[in-house]
């Protein structure tokens, strides 16, 4: 083991000192190192201002997720399992009573106060806010659709009902006469177009396994 010579020590000092200086320089780039871009607020408060990290009810959510995704037979359950099946069961009943138009109108009417708030956002920030308010901005959609692909003026997502309806027909025989196209034409399209009308925009819906909703 040799003692570091003075020259070697100086070399190391310059090397590491330089690195330290470089690091300090980087630290002076707040948007990179501090993650504090425009409007991000005080980075020292990041943890305590993060709403997710402040929740103390996550254990129940994780347990529900675990039980759901550990149930893989007779079909793999997903987080939207019950909402899609429950919606189909109710729609089956409503259609059997011939009340589907009133049902969709009721959905739109009960959502109108929120839709009018979305309308104000559209007036300030543009029509894409209408799709945001109808899809990724509301639990009613992002807890129903497994994922939502966001493009300017367009949203697309896997249909949550097709597989659920197949499962219902298979595992609850003789309980569903509803067809997939009924779900599109008697629930999704009338409610979304109804929402869009209140918001003050026009949309076009292309139903499918991947459903596409565009501003028209």
């Amino acid at each position: 083991m040799t003692q570091p010579e003075r020259r070697e020590f100086a070399k190391q000092t310059v090397k590491w000192g330089g690195a330290a200086l470089s690091l300090l320089t980087v630290l002076n780039l707040p948007s990179v190192v501090l993650g504090a871009g425009p409007g991000m607020g005080n980075p020292l408060n990041t943890i305590k201002e993060n709403p997710f990290l402040q929740r103390n009810d996550l254990q129940d959510a994780l347990k529900s997720l675990y039980v759901t995704y550990d149930s893989t037979s007779p079909y793999p359950h997903k987080f939207n399992d019950v909402i899609s099946k429950g919606q189909l069961e109710c729609l089956e009943f409503i259609v059997s009573k011939g009340l589907d138009k009133e049902y969709a109108a009721h959905y739109v009417a009960t959502m109108t106060p929120i839709l009018l708030r979305v309308k104000q956002m559209v007036e300030k920030e543009g029509p894409d806010k209408a799709l945001q308010g109808m899809f990724e901005g509301t639990t009613c959609s992002y807890q129903l659709m497994e994922r939502i692909d966001v493009k300017q003026g367009e949203r697309s997502f896997p249909c949550p009902y097709k597989q659920a309806l197949e499962n219902c027909k298979k595992w609850l025989p003789n309980r569903f006469v509803l067809e997939w196209k009924d779900v599109c034409s008697k629930l999704c399209i009338p409610t979304w177009t109804g929402f869009a009308k209140v918001i003050g925009v026009n949309i076009a819906v292309q139903p499918g396994e991947t459903c596409i909703v565009k501003l028209a």
């Binding site: 993060n50 709403p51 997710f52 402040q54 929740r55 009810d57 996550l58 129940d60 959510a61 994780l62 347990k63 529900s64 997720l65 675990y66 039980v67 759901t68 995704y69 550990d70 149930s71 893989t72 037979s73 007779p74 793999p76 359950h77 997903k78 987080f79 399992d81 019950v82 909402i83 429950g86 919606q87 069961e89 109710c90 089956e92 009943f93 409503i94 059997s96 009573k97 009340l99 009133e102 009721h106 009417a109 009960t110 959502m111 109108t112 106060p113 929120i114 639990t139 009613c140 959609s141 992002y142 807890q143 129903l144 497994e146 994922r147 595992w171 609850l172 025989p173 309980r175 569903f176």
Partner: protein
């Protein structure tokens, strides 16, 4: 022997060797508080009834979407802290508001019971025959996604389940934020939860007593 019996029967011998092995059969045994011989009977409950907590979690390839949805939900704290059951609760409330306005809530509850009666006939009745009345609550609460995706947690006692009412806080929020629903919290008990549970109980050949509240208590009679 049915194909689905094999691993279950194997579980019986394995768990005798491995003590606290959390096999599917063992889990059912723990829930129902039954002994090893009775557990053999679990093996003849149809496969679908046992296909729950079946160890498939680690093999799932769609967990990313689920985790993203969970983070998105629990980051959504305004105007109130959203939970995983938010949209499901709202769907039930909206549907109830519609059928109550139309005066068809009773038919709707009967339709729901009739639709899911297949499951009661296929699984729950057999469970009750084998393990007693607690199997009715097992089948209606912790065993079904219809409940474990709706209730934030389910407290399990022999012959009794307690759940935090998922409807009250959301109904309060809706009335405060929008005021567009006509139903009251009492309607939720009397025109949805109680008729549905009583309907399932009748189909299964048992009775239930429901004590509604912020913590709802359901006892099998």
């Amino acid at each position: 022997m049915k194909s689905n019996d094999k691993p279950l029967l194997k579980d019986v011998t394995d768990s005798l060797k491995n003590g606290e092995d959390m096999s599917r059969r063992n889990f059912a045994k723990k829930l129902l508080g039954i002994g090893a011989l009775s557990s053999l009977a679990v093996s003849i409950v149809p496969e679908a009834a046992l296909a729950w907590l079946d160890g498939g979690f680690a093999q799932r390839e769609d967990l990313a979407d689920a985790v993203k949805e969970l983070v998105k939900t629990y980051s959504d704290t305004k105007p109130y802290p959203h939970k995983f059951n938010d949209a499901l609760v709202k769907m039930h409330l909206r549907n109830l508001d519609f059928v109550v306005r139309k005066g068809i809530w009773k038919e709707r509850a009967e339709h729901y019971v009739w639709t899911l009666g297949v499951v009661v006939d296929r699984h729950i009745k057999k469970g009750i025959e084998m393990f007693g009345k607690d199997a009715f609550l097992w089948g209606n609460f912790e065993r079904t996604s219809c409940s474990y995706q709706l209730y934030e947690h389910i407290e399990i006692k022999d012959g009794e389940r307690l759940v935090p009412c998922p409807f009250k806080p959301i109904l309060d929020q809706i009335q405060k934020g929008m005021g567009t629903y006509q139903i009251t919290w009492d309607d939720v008990h009397n025109k949805w939860c109680i008729p549905v549970w009583e309907g399932f109980a009748k189909s299964a050949g048992v009775g239930v007593k429901v004590e509604p509240g912020e913590t709802c208590r359901i006892k099998v009679l």
